[in-house]
């Protein structure tokens, strides 16, 4: 830089720095990322603060709701007791009907089938630092048995899969990310097609032939073909259908509320289908006897 006039030095520096980063980008495009050191360091440095923040907010919420926001507690208590009685009555009615309902039976079968899949609850402590990618960070990592490609769900449905696992943190690619996808099928017609993210709140079901019938409001569930998620987990509901050739454009609203995730469940296995095989037959047979209470959960 000695021979360069001082007013041009910063321009030369700018060109150099940009060139360096372009090379960095080019390297990444050629080689598929395996978790770069800079990412590991940055996530490692940030996650304690995110964890502390999440814990702090939890404490503040707890303190507020337990000690300060008690003005209407007595009235609310009375109202909740009344509601509780009504709900108990309604629950009894539902439980008696549940044994005959096809959908609840399917859910029950699913629950039975997943009995041997180990699961781990984790708290969401951070999200992607940009709006272009849809990822979240969990407060559990390798030390808790979380590995890449493990499925992540909530009781409502599929959330995504683990793409990086650090010592105490894991990064999850949400279903809505452009790079995301899950093996899925329509719950009623059992037509299979992968469901992928679009970077927007709605998902896209890409390969439904024009001749096949799809109905608005139809449920979409996992097919198990991706070998990440077991069969029949809720993925979403069909909200939009556009005709096209050779495939229809089907939009799906995710079953899980991916905009507001605070706690999720990680499926601690890389082979959920194999885990499922053992208890599947007795589960189907004993489906009714386990009762409606279990069926409400999945």
């Amino acid at each position: 830089m000695a021979g360069i006039p001082s007013r041009h030095k910063s321009l030369v520096l700018l060109a150099g720095v940009i060139l360096l980063q372009v090379v960095l980008l080019a390297v990444q495009i050629k080689r598929d990322s395996q978790g770069r050191l800079l990412r590991v360091w940055t996530v490692g440095a940030m996650s304690p603060f995110q964890r502390a923040g999440a814990k702090g907010i939890g404490n503040i919420r707890g303190t507020w709701s337990h000690y300060f926001a008690l003005q209407n507690t007595s009235r609310e208590n009375e109202q909740l007791r009344r509601e509780n009685d009504e709900l108990k009555l309604r629950m009894n009615q539902l439980q008696s009907k549940a044994t005959e309902a096809d959908r609840l039976a399917a859910l029950l079968n699913f629950r039975q089938a997943q009995r041997n899949v180990p699961m781990l609850a984790a708290r969401v402590i951070g999200t992607s630092a940009d709006s272009a990618s849809q990822t979240i960070y969990l407060d559990r990592g390798e030390r808790d048995g979380i590995r890449r490609n493990m499925g992540v769900i909530t009781p409502d449905g599929v959330v995504g899969k683990v793409i990086e696992s650090y010592r105490d943190t894991a990064q999850v690619l949400l279903l809505t990310d452009k790079d995301s996808g899950v093996g899925a099928m329509l719950a009623d017609s059992r037509i299979q097609s992968p469901v992928g993210g679009t970077g927007e709140p709605l998902l896209s079901m890409k390969y439904i032939p024009t001749d096949d019938t799809v109905n608005l409001g139809e449920h979409v569930v996992t097919s198990g073909m991706d070998r990440i998620f077991p069969r029949d987990l809720p993925v979403g509901v069909v909200t939009e259908i556009k005709t096209g050739r050779p495939f229809q454009q089907v939009r799906v609203r995710p079953a899980a509320n991916l905009q507001r995730l605070e706690e999720v469940i990680v499926l601690l296995t890389l082979h959920p289908m194999e885990q499922r095989k053992e208890p599947a037959a007795p589960a189907a047979a004993s489906g009714k006897s386990v009762g409606g209470t279990a069926a409400v959960n999945p």
């Binding site: 030095k9 910063s10 321009l11 520096l13 700018l14 720095v17 940009i18 980063q21 372009v22 960095l24 980008l25 080019a26 990444q28 495009i29 990322s33 770069r36 800079l38 990412r39 360091w41 940055t42 996530v43 940030m46 603060f49 995110q50 923040g53 999440a54 907010i57 969401v124 402590i125 951070g126 999200t127 992607s128 630092a129 940009d130 709006s131 272009a132 990618s133 849809q134 990822t135 979240i136 960070y137 793409i163 990064q171 690619l173 990310d177 452009k178 790079d179 905009q259 507001r260 995730l261 605070e262």
Partner: protein
């Protein structure tokens, strides 16, 4: 000299170069990245803000040294890349913020950027330019079809500009008088 604000004579105008309390830049950068990664968990709409960009712009405009501005932009951008998902390769935000850091400090050395109206207009412009470079990089280097202009971009630019005016007033307090 390092402890005091001093005047730099450029293009026949008095432009004040501001120094900050030790650790202020590092702390502000770190806080911005933490908030950017943490708050959207609870308030999803917060993601419309680009706090790391606002920090880049502010310190660029205040320090008025293009070399420092572009290096700060690069560091902030790469850290933001590191905290982002797999669709954001390292360098995407790094390049865009390097350029913004350079432009902000270059413009800061020529114009009075202390008035709120100037800050509002400049932030809006820098936000659009920043997104422009990200779109350009995505299209050219990553071969991803990205739209140049969307309504969301316009709204985000306006929101970030308004927040910047308030944030910059707070950051002004970190200056050494």
């Amino acid at each position: 000299m390092m402890n005091d604000a001093f005047d730099l004579r450029l293009a026949e105008t008095h432009i004040e170069v501001h120094k900050f309390r030790s650790g202020a830049i590092v702390a502000a950068t770190f806080l911005a990245l933490i908030l950017q990664a943490f708050v959207p968990v609870y308030i999803p709409k917060f993601a419309v803000l680009d706090l790391p960009l606002l920090i880049t712009i502010y310190f660029g405009l205040s320090r008025r040294n293009p070399s420092t501005g572009l290096l700060l932009g690069m560091v902030i951008g790469l850290l933001q890349d590191s905290l982002s998902g797999p669709t954001v390769p390292l360098g995407l935000y790094g390049i865009a913020k390097t350029i913004i850091g350079y432009l902000a400090s270059s413009i800061g050395a020529r114009l009075d950027t202390e008035h709120p109206a100037a800050r509002l207009a400049l932030t809006m412009m820098f936000f659009v330019v920043h997104q422009g470079f990200i779109t350009l990089t995505r299209r050219l280097l990553l071969a991803e079809p990205e739209q140049w202009f969307t309504l969301r971009l316009a709204i985000a630019a306006a929101v970030n500009a308004v927040v910047a005016v308030l944030l910059f007033a707070v950051l002004d307090r970190l200056r050494r008088s």
